[in-house]
């Protein structure tokens, strides 16, 4: 149950039971729901081609995120992911903010996923003749069941995520085969449906914000760094494998939907892949897509609970938040108090019913985190150059990915400002107030010498 250390004091730790498949399931599981809904709002901004450009440009942004994250996490093998990286490489205030971005991004995404499950139940009931079903009990059940699962152990939690994420991914492949891609014009009508950019290039820029739905959350893989058997191998393999899966899934999703629906409809559809399944005319396919949409939402909520609780736990363990949250369950070896604490918060977000606002807050928190990563990797390579510490993975072409990431993040901020300027300013104000609170009231409780745990040599120049 516990390890015995040199000072013969009994210590508890999380179980190291995960492999690269679990990491893949965590990353892709959180994201894949974005293929089933949400990505298509980029079509409303930039047309079908604008959405495809956003898909690949934002794909490049996330490829940079995945490469940078894989390198740093392969050396900082600790729960908390980017929070722990920021703590070691930049400093406490950045770490606090990054920790908060993570908790907010994942808890809000979890709430949005639970809302989707509730809405699917309502649609299912309507299709079977029961109108006006109350979604609240199903929203709460989704959060309660997944919190219970997460509480009882990470292995079962992420094994379930692997199964349901795999089914959801296969559903996209089955739909792709069903639309006869080798026979253009038979089912898919790209020639008739694809138009020029309806709002020009400014529309393409505006669509970047919703292009993030294709990949939002893949960086969550590094939250599992303390629970994998080999962080240096599993995190890069799972993350990069996940990124490849998502690039394929995103491109197929666009190809199928853009060939079946006019951009004016696609840009405002609630469940575009399910609609595509319906348009093909097969009841079995329609049912498969309905189940896959539900599985994708559940897998996303499940991964989000896992990640948000690890980030909150890490903040507690370092006393950035009350140390009470830094406890590990002696039997299940999970951060159980953090899991429980975040349940009412997720339910509260979900009960607002404001899916748009909740998701925007989540996307912006993620974007702030990616901006941090571009600065973080430059500082990391400068302080600990190649060869000074062991890296499980070294990303190529440094500093090109970092520069690309920073440029693309700036473009996405601009895109967000065009559509959600007030939300962008509100969230920035929230994090500024939180930073002042941390500096003035909280940092005095942090045991400064205890928080730097990596057995690294003194950084270059210090």
């Amino acid at each position: 149950m516990s390890t015995t250390t040199g000072d013969s004091k009994q210590r508890i730790s999380m179980l190291k039971v995960l492999n690269p498949f679990h990491i893949w399931a965590l990353g892709v599981g959180i994201v894949l729901v974005g293929e089933f809904m949400g990505w298509n709002f980029s079509v409303a901004k930039g047309g079908a081609y604008g959405s495809l450009i956003a898909c690949w440009v934002i794909g490049l942004l996330y490829t940079c995120v995945a490469m940078i994250d894989s390198e740093v996490t392969s050396t900082v093998a600790a729960a908390g992911g980017q929070y722990t990286q920021a703590k070691h490489i930049i400093g406490p205030l950045m770490a606090f903010n990054v920790g908060l971005y993570l908790v907010m991004a994942y808890t809000m995404l979890e709430a949005a996923d639970a809302l989707v499950v509730g809405d699917l139940m309502k649609s299912g009931a309507e299709a079977l003749g029961h109108a006006g079903l109350d979604t609240k009990p199903f929203v709460v059940l989704t959060i309660a069941f997944l919190a219970w699962l997460n509480y009882r152990g990470v292995f079962t939690t992420l094994t379930l995520n692997f199964v349901i994420t795999f089914v959801a991914f296969i559903a996209i492949l089955v739909l792709f085969l069903a639309v006869e891609p080798a026979n253009p014009g038979a089912v898919l009508k790209h020639k008739e449906l694809l138009t020029d950019l309806p709002y020009g290039w400014i529309g393409v820029v505006a669509s970047l914000q919703f292009g993030m739905w294709y990949y939002l959350g893949i960086e969550g893989t590094c939250q599992a760094a303390e629970e994998v058997r080999s962080a240096g191998r599993a995190i890069p393999l799972g993350t990069m494998g996940g990124m490849m899966t998502l690039l394929v899934a995103a491109s197929l999703t666009w190809y199928i939907c853009a060939g079946l629906m006019p951009w004016q409809y696609l840009g405002q559809a609630v469940t575009p892949l399910y609609d595509a399944g319906t348009l093909v005319g097969s009841t079995k396919l329609q049912l498969l897509l309905f189940v896959a949409t539900a599985f994708a939402a559940i897998a996303s909520a499940n991964g989000c609970i896992n990640d948000a609780s690890r980030a909150w736990f890490s903040l507690g363990r370092d006393r950035y938040m009350p140390v009470f949250f830094g406890a590990i369950h002696p039997k299940y070896r999970t951060p159980y108090r953090s899991i429980i604490f975040l349940v009412p918060i997720a339910v509260s977000f979900a009960f607002t019913g404001l899916l748009d606002q909740v998701i925007t807050f989540s996307i912006l928190s993620g974007l702030l985190g990616y901006t941090f990563m571009s600065i973080n990797i430059v500082k990391f390579r400068k302080m600990w150059p190649l060869g000074s510490i062991h890296r499980g993975y070294i990303h190529p072409f440094h500093p090109l990915p970092a520069i690309t990431l920073l440029i693309l993040c700036s473009a996405t901020y601009f895109a967000t400002f065009l559509g959600y300027g007030t939300s962008l300013l509100s969230i920035l104000a929230f994090y500024i107030v939180a930073s002042i609170w941390f500096s003035v009231r909280r940092y005095k409780f942090v045991k400064r010498a205890d928080q730097f745990t990596m057995p690294w040599p003194r950084p270059k120049g210090y």
């Binding site: 210590r11 508890i12 729960a79 029961h130 009990p137 303390e226 363990r317 002696p330 159980y336 429980i340």
Partner: protein, 46 residues
């Protein structure tokens, strides 16, 4: 009361049961184990 109303009621009951189980277990762990032990994990411990 049709099937969907029954399912809604069941969802509330199961949710409550799961959450009560979690909270009860957390309280019992806190009573059985020393706080220092529960919070003794170190970042990156092997």
């Amino acid at each position: 009361m049709d099937l969907w109303d029954v399912l809604s009621q069941a969802a509330w009951v199961v949710s409550a049961a799961l959450l009560i189980w979690i909270v009860k277990d957390a309280i019992s762990v806190s009573q059985q184990y020393d706080e220092e032990f529960l919070m003794s994990s170190r970042e990156g411990d092997e």
